[in-house]
Amino acid sequence: MNQESETEMLKEYAEQEYKYGFVTDIESETLPPGLNTKVIEFISKKKGEPKWLTEWRLKAYKIWLKMDEPHWANVDYPPIDYQGISYYSAPKNASEGPQSLDEVDPELIKTYNKLGIPLEEQEILAGVAVDAVFDSMSVATTFKKRLAEKGVIFCSISEAVKEHPELIKKYMGSVVPQSDNFFAALNSAVFTDGSFCYIPPGTKCPMELSTYFRINEPNTGQFERTLIVAEKGAYVSYLEGCTAPKRDENQLHAAVVELVALDDAEIKYSTVQNWYPGDKEGKGGIYNFVTKRGACRGKSSKITWTQVETGSAITWKYPSCILQGDNSKGEFYSVALSALKQQADTGTKMIHIGKNTKSTIISKGISADKGQNTYRGQVMIKKSATGARNYSQCDSLLIGDKCGAHTFPYLDVKNTKSHVEHEASTSKIGEDQIYYCKQRGISEEDAINLIVNGFCKEVFRELPMEFAVEAQRLLEVSLEGSVG
């Protein structure tokens, strides 16, 4: 590629439209901006929460007040005004909570259809149970009945607080405590909804579970909380997708996801994140400050995080595994694309505590335009983790010459009878590679897709089929018109 066509390509890339940038016109109940104990009490009351949870929130708030926003990440953004955010917004009609799809506001259904997730259709065709979170309320949970037959609980976290308080009390905050970090503390204080999933002992969840998140109202933050518990010998695969409308202001998304896997249990958690990335000047877009952590509590348990991150103005996210049980396994597969002026600081933490614990990290960072992509990963082998093994591979792909890729691996090994391996590479989509493809008759655009997909392959193959196709298409759309 010569300089001219490269510039042209980047220009077109930057000008490419965010296709999920619509706003849904529905009546909603939104709290004025600001955060204090009154707001937290309001949220708690609105959700009809028991007293212990109100107090749990207030405790988190107190902790949060004493904390400082972390600034160690390789991202740069103006200070966030936490008093300028509204902490509660819910579609008005849904205040009673819909019992079935028929009761859901048709405008909402339309929104989901625009997103390409028709609930009705998914019910029938894909066999995916969807919990859709729209701003702060969980709108509809499909397939509840079929799951209930197996004893699987899949509902919004608000509902779980009411219906299954003992499980919530036992597990919520047990993986990510309120004091874990600034954003987790904030979330603990103001979380509005999210999904809860419980798989009873020896049960294989009969279908993929899925949640779609969408931020609709301006100036709102989304603070959802997801909790998944897999009992002994249980298995579940969980998918999460995210979009948001186009807005000039930045919007904050500070979620917490906690996974608990007991003996021989397995949890697969897959994310395709396509929050609005902001425009080419770096205006607008979602600040995605998320704490995701899984605890392999039981022996031979397994947790797999797979993420494809193409959106958000700023991503600060480190899905991690605490490998407590002997012979437990943690896996992290990630594709992160930063284009426009996007900044992503993402990676994982693998904390080996149990004997013969294993972890695998495969991270693929793609930077284009003025995007900055950072991999930050920590592998910690505690003294008790005899026979632990880790394999890490971090590859970066650069498209153009104004973007950047950075890798920060931290290794902390306290047990000499363990094995840690780290490989890293950085490559530019070579002109010679594109030339080679073109010489065989493949167009430049298809050549780039071919090379990018080849680069991401190890991650894509970890995704469930439908998601792999979606992820591939998302990357293709993101690179569409990238050729001059």
């Binding site: 010489q439 065989r440 298809d446 080849g454 190890e458």
Partner: protein, 250 residues
Amino acid sequence: MIKIENLHVEVDGNQILKGINLEVKAGETHAIMGPNGSGKSTLAQVIAGHEDYEVTQGKVEYLNKDLLEMDVDERACEGVFLAFQYPVELPGVNNTYFLKSALNAQRKYRGEKEIDAMEFMDLISDKIKLLNLKDSLLKRPVNEGFSGGEKKRNEIFQMAILEPKLALLDETDSGLDIDALRIVARGVNTMRKKENAIIIVTHYQRLLNYIVPDFVHVLVDGKIISSGDKNLALELEEKGYDRIIKEAKA
């Protein structure tokens, strides 16, 4: 098929080709020989359309069209194939998938429909035997971890699948042992048909024992100084470039 007239080419301001005239007709095989740095590979790259090579003078007519006006992929779809001297690795890109993408891109260009999966597998298993390549290479990423010989054979394998009208072989023989050389030659020879043409760029006469050319040209310092039949290659082998150059100048 291809007619090159007074072709001048620069790379980074250095003149490499200084007035090439060459006509290759359908059904012919031409060998371009010459010492290192004479411009042989440049000629192959310019025909394929590499952007680093700037044509400052002259014209190239291919199937009655202006070749220099076409983009690289367009030339490929029109039937120009370059077997690379240094085949490029495409990590993670499955070899079979790559080949199918290339073939379908060319079929689409010609207004044909995509090749049926079964038909494609038949085609592949047919050609892979011809090149004596291991089936496992089909599942591996393009050229990644291939040995030097495998890479070269893979180029000819691609050529056999894509069936170009004009094939350019850029030092395909370098790095091949004698057995591999025979296999490659066998592959190329099956491509020799009256409607196709082949241009072979090479240092050595060796390959020409197996692929016998109709014409041999000696390229020195950006110009063709001598042309002849296959005997010219033998003469070159015997006398060396220096004497041929001297004789040509005399």
